[in-house]
Subunit: 200 residues, 2 copies
């Protein structure tokens, strides 16, 4: 999050930013900003603040964004499309090397610059291209079996959009996004806000 705002400041030509300013932008506290950053090093100048451009570079390094990551997208549905379309990915060093699906209707269809490939080629491509990150946007029922194949083929991180509990070995990182659960969280917040204030 800090990186996001520092990039904006940098683009705006600002040379220096205080923990106060960053905290305000990110919706946190100055002390939090200083503790967070100090975990990785001592980037600021006392009396001045943090050098925007330099800190941006440090954070990119820390986050591993100075190299290119090869990504496969599994599932040529709407979510897969939204992701493949997202131009921010390429800029940030995530290169989509292929989009895969098991539906005969979709295989071969154009997909941005590429075409949708048959999911039977998934393992081979992951191995050959040495892709390390996979985005999973397929129905829940198929999720675990595809994950197992990905892991077997050498994938090391998975971003999962299927509303299913996925199991991975400890050397693989997993992050799940469940849209229904996000909405349910809002429902809970709303319900409580409303009952505590007595509104309809």
């Amino acid at each position: 999050m800090y990186l996001r705002y520092l990039e904006d400041l940098d683009a705006g030509g600002q040379h220096t930013a205080s923990s106060d300013e960053l905290a305000h932008l990110c919706g946190t506290t100055p002390a939090q900003v200083r503790k967070d950053l100090s975990f990785f090093g001592s980037f600021g100048k006392r009396g001045l603040g943090y050098p925007v451009h330099e800190l941006t570079s440090h954070l990119r390094e820390i986050l591993g964004l100075k190299r290119e990551w090869k990504v496969v997208i599994v599932g040529a549905g709407k979510i897969g499309a939204a992701l493949a379309n997202y131009r921010g990915f390429r800029q940030r060093g995530f290169k989509v090397i292929g989009v895969y699906d098991n539906s005969a209707e979709k295989i071969g269809l154009p997909w941005g610059e590429a075409i949708v490939r048959d999911i039977v080629d998934l393992e081979r491509d992951v191995r050959v291209e040495e892709a390390l990150i996979a985005v999973l946007a397929i129905p829940s029922d198929d999720a675990q079996s595809v994950v197992d194949r990905l892991v077997e083929a050498g994938i090391r991180a998975i971003l999962n959009f299927a509303p299913a509990q996925i199991v991975v070995p400890s050397h693989v990182s997993l992050k799940s996004v469940n849209m229904a659960m996000e909405l349910e969280g809002l429902s809970f917040a709303l319900t409580n806000a409303m009952t505590s204030k007595g509104a309809a």
Copy 2:
């Protein structure tokens, strides 16, 4: 998360579940499960476990899922499509009352059972239908101004997919999902796992 798994157990005809079992399913610990549930009440029976069907019902009540929530989707792009398509929403009590866009090319196009509406009608529809939840799937630049209009029209919760920092008054709940940030989190995890193990 508990609700998700309890529903599965209920559908499978299981009448009772121990904190041990739930913990195992959800990837947490029995003590955690008991503390979490006990926050809302005393639902279990000592020596037996939790009554699956009854607890499911309690959790739905707690999460505010026993009523219908009217939802507007703003942005008829790929993410909006993925969400509007998602059948789980309707089942869970989220009724999409309209999809809005500002692009002349998209307005009027069929969209599932409905058609894409002009975003100029957004406030009126939100007011008339008394929609309380909005899903935002539009470019970042337009996000804050649309949010302001939504809040003004009476929206009480927003699920935001634009990679922008949004500001809302305290009576409005906001949840942001940023796909680029999720991937960057994986990049960080991967980078650290790799450097600490010395792999390429």
